[in-house]
């Protein structure tokens, strides 16, 4: 792997990692408000669903890059 490719991968890992941590921080900072709204159900159903999609995108990319950076990659053959 070239030096540039390694740097790009690490940058991706860092970027997705930071966004993921920010998402979790925001969730716990506004914990009471979020839980309060979602507990009422009905149209607030979109909040857990939107959260789930957002977390799966950023955290999903982060975890993929994490294992890649750790050298655990899929068998290419």
């Amino acid at each position: 792997m070239t030096h540039t490719a390694t740097r790009t991968k690490l940058a991706r890992l860092g970027l997705f990692g930071i966004v993921t941590v920010l998402l979790y921080l925001l969730m716990f900072l506004f914990e009471d408000a979020i839980v309060g709204v979602t507990q009422h159900g009905h149209w607030s159903f979109f909040i857990p669903i939107a959260f789930a999609f957002a977390f799966s995108y950023f955290h999903g990319h982060f975890t993929g890059s994490f294992w890649d950076a750790m050298g655990i990659r899929a068998n290419q053959h």
Binding site: G41, H42, F46, I47, A52, H59, G60, G64, F66, R73
Partner: protein, 357 residues
Amino acid sequence: MDIEAVNFIDLDLTKILFLFFVGFVGGLVSGFIGSGGAFVLTPAMMSIGVPAIVAVASNMCHKFPKSLVGAMKRYKYGQVDVKLGLILGASAEVGVLYGAHIMESVKRTWGDAGSNLYVSVIFVLVLAIVGSWVLMDAWKTYRSGDVDAEEKPNRLALWIQSIRIPGTMFYSRAAKAEISWLVTIPMGIATGLLAASIAVGGFIGVPAMIYLLGVPSLMASATELVIAFVMGLGGSIKYAWGGFVDIRLAMILLAGSLFGIQLGAIGTTYVKPYMVKVVMGTIMIIVLVSRALVIPVYLAKLGWIAPIQEATMAMLKNVSLGIMTAALLIGAGIIIRSLNSGMRASRAPILAQEGQT
């Protein structure tokens, strides 16, 4: 549904770490066999004080994004048949809704003990039949010594593939054949029914794809992730509409399970296909023992057998949960071991070449 009656628990660091770990192990197994972590997650959440309905709802809400990430990962490896997954997922959704209705009726008629007995009996029956079949098939493959050979559809799958119903045929890239979606409807409904009762539809979905449609094991387990996504999304909307999803629990489980599911998915690229059957069959048989142990507890509560002492009931329940957790850990252990040995075997020629130069 009484929304005001549902309380969300306070979370401390110990609970967060516990949920993260359980999520990781569940994700690892799901990434490898397509499903399987869910049956431990709900009791695990209940063990730290989460109300049953919130545990089920939050489990569901972490399951669909996890399955989405797993399906996308395995799609990259060419293991997912999206069309088959969506078709089965649509009928599975019907099964989930009908299954939930059955569960409610059972609970109304026989109460919590009746509902728990129903779930346990379904667990034992399905896992005894399907689990032993899957394990025996894996054993036969292992004994034949032909573990690298491409999996071929059995006679039943070939017969099902030969059924031609005009206007209903679609090409399944996993089965490498045209299949009528009318044939897949009962399979999808059965998967959904099982998911609604024991939370792991894949214990029917994956074997059905392998033995009834002729889909290779690795593709069946990957396609199951699409079905789990469709079922999970529908179920999550239903529970979130009722206000039962604790977003914090769901996202903490997701935090761990996304690490696990990526690892499980990577693992499938190193192992022999029959290993999917080994892991799935092993988990099924151990879980069967776990559920069989608590059946007398529910029978006694219903007054259908002689009463059992409270202490014995508590002991049986704890042993059952312990065995269930062991099933998940043993499955995870086999996956990590297979991944490790697969990676070593794959790197050995490269290291040998580097040593020569």
